[in-house]
Symmetry: C2
């Protein structure tokens, strides 16, 4: 379909739904954008800038019709940690621009090199553990603003030290505004349904803003958001000092990874609701474009946000045009509403963040993962604790390494089953678990793993152990249906097993070898040493040229 035709089809069709969705989303996003910019340690208006041009860039390059891109809480937390690495002389805003630019370039490079599959390194335990930890860290970082305390920090030790350093001070009127906002938000969430529930934060903001103005809260010492500088969106280069770029690179790498993976998870979850699919590479391109746009328009690193996306989805978005409209509407709204926002108490903004992020907390996965696999449950917990007490980098590092270690351990110790025939069928199962019958001279073995370097050294050992228990064996048939691949180490192990059995006067046959596996063996010229037979089914392998004197094992 040509662009013009596409535009015409769009004008006839879903634009109305998109416009409604955009209008709803744009007003809701203004306070959220301010709040996440403050969370990242940046001036509040940066959040507005990051919600304009990046949305247009994503709409142009991305693929999901529902993904709402903009400042998100977890990335904001990571920006706050990462900008600390900037050399002296650079402001946090400048560092944030470089982080956005670097993340964008890393994502574009990953898309070009087809590294989108690296997202798979974030296992569910790592991702959930990380998101929970980050959410708690975000909540912690908002406590001082809610309490009117001068303390700051998002990791537990830093926050406690800072609070102790300031003599555990707090400010009653500030806390009053904050608690009132929390109460109203929770009430709204409970009493209202559907879109009204989503509008509740806006209503609460307007309400508290009015009260703050009426009681002249500034005079009571309540910190307010304050007047935003006049907004004038403009394009400009981020700082180009190599030393600055180098210092921020590790942080940018983590931000790119988390921004991509968390956006992908959101896009996939929403696509799945309609039986649709997501193109991971296009998502990567879309996010790269959005972050590049942020870097050039005085913004901060952005990602797909679950709350923004759910808003778009629930408000009836049909295409990525709704993001474009939202950006335009929001630009207009921000220009006109910004002066009023100056009266908003900071503790109210902290309250909206607290309620928003804490409502997403899920503890059930910890219990489920623990029940399903102790090690994975522990990994999830460890990642959470590291985010809270050490740093995002340490948590993700341990998480990825831990996941890989568990995978290696899994392939290293394969389950081995002596299999026999389920009577009256051609189906073979583990003799220890099912009522089956075996042939005394033919040993059917199933090794439940691909033959890989992690287990190659134990293959001959495992078979030898079974042979010691069944001295009458004259032929061994390996059922290869669980063997999904054989690497070069596995090939050597198979050759050694074949040789070891041949020395003992035993023949090694294989059955149910998968097509791709057999292709590779043939290409490597295995017929030069392999003297056994390859049978299509294990039943054929067991009964080939054999008297069928089945016995119980």
């Amino acid at each position: 379909m040509k662009p013009l035709q596409a535009l015409r089809a769009y004008a006839r069709g879903p634009w109305r739904e998109d416009l409604v969705a955009a209008a709803v989303v744009s007003v809701l996003l203004i306070p959220q954008s301010l709040a996440y910019a403050l969370l990242a340690g940046l001036p509040a208006e940066v959040g507005i800038y990051a919600s304009l041009l990046p949305l247009l860039a994503y709409a142009l390059l991305g693929s999901s019709p529902y993904l709402g891109v903009g400042p998100v809480a977890i990335v904001a937390l990571m920006v706050a940690q990462a900008t600390a690495a900037a050399p002296a002389g650079y402001s946090a805003s400048q560092a944030a621009l470089v982080l956005a630019a670097e993340s964008a370039l890393l994502m574009a490079a990953a898309a070009a090199l087809r590294l989108d599959a690296l997202a798979a390194l974030m296992s569910v335990p790592v991702l959930h553990g990380f998101e929970t930890g980050a959410t708690l860290a975000i909540a912690l970082s908002q406590l001082p603003a809610l309490l009117g305390s001068p303390a700051q920090g998002s990791e537990l030790p830093a926050l406690l030290a800072s609070a102790a350093g300031s003599g555990w001070r707090w400010h009653a009127p500030t806390l009053g505004f904050g608690l009132a906002a929390v109460a109203l938000l929770l009430l709204g969430r409970r009493l209202l349904g559907g879109l009204w529930a989503r509008l509740a934060p806006l209503i609460v903001l307007l309400l508290t803003l009015g009260v703050a103005w009426a009681v002249q809260a500034q005079g009571l010492g309540v910190p307010l958001v304050g007047a935003l500088p006049a907004l004038h969106p403009r394009l400009q280069w981020p700082p180009l000092d190599p030393a600055l770029w180098l210092a921020l690179l590790p942080g940018a790498l983590l931000i790119a990874l988390i921004a991509y993976v968390s956006s992908l998870v959101v896009a996939e979850a929403l696509a799945r609701r309609r039986g649709e699919r997501v193109d991971p590479r296009r998502e990567l391109m879309g996010l790269a474009g959005a972050n590049l746009a942020a870097a050039f328009s005085a913004g901060m690193p952005v990602a797909g946000s679950f709350s923004r996306s759910a808003l778009l989805y629930d408000a009836g978005s049909r295409s990525r045009m709704s993001s474009v409209m939202a950006a335009l509407l929001m630009g207009a709204a921000a220009l006109s509403l910004a002066p009023a926002l100056a009266w908003l108490p900071r503790s109210v903004l902290a309250a909206t963040i607290l309620v928003a992020v804490l409502s997403g907390l899920q503890w059930r996965p910890y219990l489920e993962a623990w029940r399903y696999a102790r090690a994975e449950g522990l990994l999830m917990l460890a990642v959470t604790l590291l985010v809270l007490n050490v740093s995002v980098a340490a948590a993700l590092g341990l998480g990825v390494l831990g996941s890989i270690a568990l995978l290696l351990q899994r392939t290293a110790r394969p389950h081995v089953a002596l299999v026999g025939r389920v009577p009256g069928t051609e189906h073979y199962r583990n003799v220890d678990r099912h009522e089956v019958e075996i042939l005394p001279e033919v040993m059917g073995l199933r090794i439940d793993e691909s033959l890989l370097f992690t287990n190659a050294r134990s293959l001959a050992d495992v078979v030898q152990a079974q042979l010691t228990q069944h001295p009458g064996t004259r032929r061994v048939v390996l059922q290869m249906s669980p063997v999904n691949g054989i690497d070069y180490s596995g090939l050597e192990a198979l050759r050694e097993l074949h040789e070891s059995l041949r020395r003992q006067g035993l023949r090694l046959d294989l059955s149910e070898l998968k097509g791709p596996v057999l292709d590779r063996l043939r290409a490597a010229g295995w017929e030069r040493w392999f003297q056994g037979q390859v049978h299509l089914s294990h039943h054929q392998g067991m009964t080939a040229g054999q008297a069928q004197d089945w016995v119980s094992p």
Copy 2:
């Protein structure tokens, strides 16, 4: 069997074979021990010390009756590189003692923590690539001694720079001795068989030693081994400076890994010849004991050597007592023969090392690995080049990371097959590869991989893609025989697939679930959300309550 009884049984039985083996091995090992000590950049007599007490310790703690423990070429090369990290003020000999002590402690810790399985990280491509690279590096390091050049180094760039710095000098009489030795060794290898071939190096050494004495080679400027200091084996603590231990720890870690894995490979290869098995943990204990003994008796890090072990095996060793006898005999021989060895030209010693290590080179695995799996062939080559041009640490690092990356890639992109029935059987195979028949309303799918975090995100996608091609489907039966495990991420993916199919009005059934996998699913309470059926065989799953109107796909 009690110790005394065991000793009596031994006195009646295999002691004669062991004594013969020990006598042969002990004389052969003296020059080799000197040579490897020099290769490690240590005084020659250190090689003798490392061949005495460590053998006794291994005999006490190890398990293999054939493994010959002592100084080996590859470990000597690693010691030469590692001792460079010692702080100023410590001799290479002192650093070598600390390396031996640290390797021993690391091995003992690994045995205690049951980390012997970490040996699996060394895949065949990495191990072969490393051994070939190390062998070439050893050969390179011997060239200056053979040529009578003052150059030194084992990595190519360092050696070339050093040779250029010395003006490419060489010394004709020294080279003459060296080339004569090489020629005689190659000739002996070609003309002699069996044990005589193994004795050839000793004969060549005695011969050239005699000539060097007769022509007074020292006067010609030929570097000789020189008088060894009087040997007096003694026990003493290695230096205990924490700074020294910390500086050498990375080197010791690599030495422990390589010493263990290369010893294990030798022990397993020899055990396999007799259908016996090796206990990896006891090997680890044995090597730990041997290295600790080396550290306390003025030795150097030791490992199981293929040439020593093959000698013991061929000479008819029956038990680890032969190692004990060899140590005793060698101690006696070294005391009496040492003065004569002073006349041995160093170029002859270099020649014996060159011929010994180069004869073990195998190029065929590179070709085989390349043919079988490009990536693994490239990895093997890259590891070799890194050993030669950069360092042992870089090569092993890249090798282990590369192997893991290939494993992740393998599990990340599972092969998926639509399966149909082989007519007249209950056996199901890929419709693209076999003449099979299918049921139009029941889709049988086989996903050839465990459900793991690396592929969890693509499971629903893959099934959805198949459904798009077969719109008439009303039930999906996943054949789970290739699924050897499901981690927590895989469990979530299965739940999401189930949910996504349910939304589309499709039922998800599973067949041929393995016992251990089903146990885990049940323990996690999957019956709370799983509404399909689990069938024993895929045939039962396909035909359950179904009109059997088989058609060709």
